[in-house]
């Protein structure tokens, strides 16, 4: 048998990715309770955040803060919470696969280990995101009422959100692959989630950050993943799409290169050194 051409391998990978995505989508039905529990927490968070922002606007006597009215701010945190609460801890799953040796067994099947993990991640993330966003929208509607969303800006926001999902997979997969060298990667994941929530603009838009912190936040990949899609959804048009995507692509290039090298070294550790 001759080796498969690269183009054919690429097309095969895409089909395998899609197949993993679809089978995981069907499998999500078994985890309705888990998702619903996350939804309950989201409702509580949004009520608290909406009330806090209302009090802040009243205390400041301001009509807008960071260019957003209070109803828009409530919808902003709804979107950022949907981005954060729909997170899937891929790092933990990869960590487990490395520790139990399942990663070696996965290598015995065509299609690639990370392809299967990405397919599973995207399916789970999509279900969680749609659920939290829908539930959050209902809560925001109750708290702050409806707001006008430009359809093109809304669509652009969803595109950026999809890009953010991919970038987060790359970063978090990299953390999980750390299990080849470390006893436990959960502490790194914990730090990642906290830093990204703080500097990504989960509770406060970047525009309201002090200048020194805002300039750091704009360089790091967290704001394009959390603040980026939420702010774009509330924009008047989709003109922010290209800069947001460019920022994601730049972060993904760096993170992707690092993870690709890490994966190669990890595989060599497994296959050459025996894990």
């Amino acid at each position: 048998m001759t080796a498969r051409p690269r183009l054919r391998i690429g097309a095969h990978r895409v089909r395998v990715l899609l197949a993993h995505f679809l089978v995981n989508l069907r499998d999500q039905g078994a985890y309705v309770g888990e998702v619903a529990l996350g939804g309950g927490i989201l409702v509580v968070f949004l009520f608290i955040l909406g009330t806090l922002w209302e009090a802040t606007y009243r205390a400041q006597g301001a009509e807008t803060l960071g260019g957003l009215t209070w109803p828009q701010m409530t919808w902003y945190v709804t979107f950022t919470e949907a981005m954060v609460m729909s997170r899937v801890n891929v790092a933990r799953r990869i960590d487990e696969d490395v520790r139990t040796g399942d990663v070696a067994y996965a290598l015995l099947r065509p299609g690639g280990y990370l392809t299967s993990r990405l397919g599973a991640y995207l399916a789970e993330r999509l279900v969680r995101f749609l659920f939290t966003l829908t539930l959050g929208a209902i809560v925001a509607m109750v708290i702050a009422g409806p707001i006008a969303i430009d359809p093109s800006a809304g669509a652009a926001a969803l595109l950026v959100a999809a890009g953010a999902f991919l970038l987060e997979f790359v970063i978090v997969a990299g953390i999980g692959l750390g299990a080849f060298w470390m006893e436990d990667t959960s502490s790194i994941y914990f730090v990642y989630t906290r830093v990204s929530m703080l500097l990504g603009g989960l509770l406060i838009p970047i525009e309201l950050f002090p200048d020194s912190i805002a300039s750091v936040a704009r360089i790091l990949p967290f704001a394009p993943m959390i603040h980026g899609p939420a702010r774009l959804a509330l924009a008047d048009d989709a003109s922010g799409l290209l800069p947001a995507m460019a920022s994601l692509v730049a972060s993904m290039s760096v993170a992707g290169a690092l993870v690709a090298v890490t994966y190669r070294v990890a595989l060599a550790r497994l296959t050459v050194h025996g894990g």
């Binding site: 395998v16 039905g29 015995l108």
Partner: protein, 345 residues
């Protein structure tokens, strides 16, 4: 047995593997000293040689730590060797792992590839894409496997509702979906009840006879080896201690065969017994004798017994395979060296 490496299903030449293990005598702070590595090379597999012909059914057996898992990992390409080479279906596994993956099947008794909350059909659909198969080919294949493995309605029931035996049948069918030419089966019957174990063995034999799939099986279960495989390779401390037919393994290893005799009428105990024979039990109408080693012929002993009186029944028994394997695990030196078809380095 010699064949060209690309003709054999598996051809292994001086394949070896060592691992660096932490040296327990080196303390933590000493590992920080440059040049003081604190690791020792531990040999998991000494240079070994063997071939498996296409369509053969071979068992790789040995106690824990003998090098079975290392051998399988090397042959499936998830481990690089320290020395030597191997060809699996004509390919070097650690160089051509991605291509080889389309040609082989791996079944690990303790690792399921079925989706727990979904029906097996969903896994089959996923595997269709993983193995890059045409939908029409898979439809025919699933119909065939459904008939052979009696899957019926199992295909559409969530895996969590299936019994262990039913799950294992689906597992085997999933492994065969892409018509592999070589199947690595690692403890395929572990945790199954007697009936399910029997069914798995039957299906594996059928997979071999009907599809010509080469079987490379590891198991601690004697019946798996005896009922499925025609040849056994025994690994002991990383070396091949035996490589030959399963029947030879037993014949060569027989230390004592037992002869149970039931007489028609009571007979008196004999004063002497033939050389190499022990009289273990004597009752008025029943004797039990042990004939030592494989070299002592049983026929003359039976003739000697019959000379003592009319016999109602004679039963000559080899030790069960389980005992043979247990003895191999305890001490490979106990094997008759003549049976060692391969000299070890």
């Amino acid at each position: 047995m010699t064949m060209r490496d690309d003709e054999a299903a598996i051809a292994v030449r001086d394949l070896s593997r060592s691992f660096d293990r932490p040296d327990p005598t080196v303390r933590g702070w000493q590992r920080l000293v440059p040049g003081w590595r604190g690791y020792r090379a531990s040999v998991a597999l000494h240079p070994v040689n063997f071939e498996v012909a296409r369509g053969e059914r071979v068992a790789l057996i040995g106690p824990n730590g003998a090098g079975k898992s290392t051998t399988i990992k090397l042959l499936t390409g998830i481990l690089h060797p320290s020395g030597g080479t191997a060809r699996v279906l004509g390919q070097v596994p650690w160089e051509d792992r991605a291509d080889l993956a389309f040609e082989i099947a791996t079944v690990f008794g303790q690792k399921s590839q079925l989706w727990y909350h979904l029906p097996p059909r969903s896994t089959f659909e996923l595997l269709r894409h993983v193995y890059d198969l045409e939908a029409s080919v898979v439809r025919r294949r699933v119909a065939d496997l459904t008939e052979r493995f009696a899957l019926g309605d199992l295909l559409d029931r969530p895996v969590r509702t299936l019994s262990l035996g039913e799950r294992m049948r689906c597992e085997l069918a999933a492994a065969l979906l892409h018509a592999p030419r070589l199947a690595f089966l690692d403890e395929p019957t572990i945790g199954l009840d007697v009936v399910a174990r029997q069914a798995v063995r039957t299906h594996v034999r059928e997979m071999n006879s009907r599809d010509g799939t080469t079987i490379f099986l590891t198991s601690h279960d004697a019946a798996d080896i005896e009922q499925v495989c025609e040849r056994a390779i025994v690994l002991q401390a990383g070396r091949i201690a035996f490589d030959g037919p399963v029947s030879t393994l037993r014949d060569r290893f027989v230390r004592a065969r037992s002869i149970d005799v039931r007489f028609v009428d009571p007979v008196s105990a004999p004063g002497t017994v033939p050389p190499g024979t022990n009289l273990v039990e004597t009752e008025p109408q029943r004797w039990r004798l042990e004939v030592e080693g494989a070299s002592t012929a049983v026929g003359p002993v039976v003739a000697w017994v019959i000379a003592h009186g009319p016999v109602a029944d004679v039963h000559v028994a080899d030790p069960p395979m389980e005992e043979v394997i247990a003895a191999i695990y305890r001490d490979t030196d106990a094997l008759d060296p003549v049976a060692n078809l391969q000299a070890n380095p």
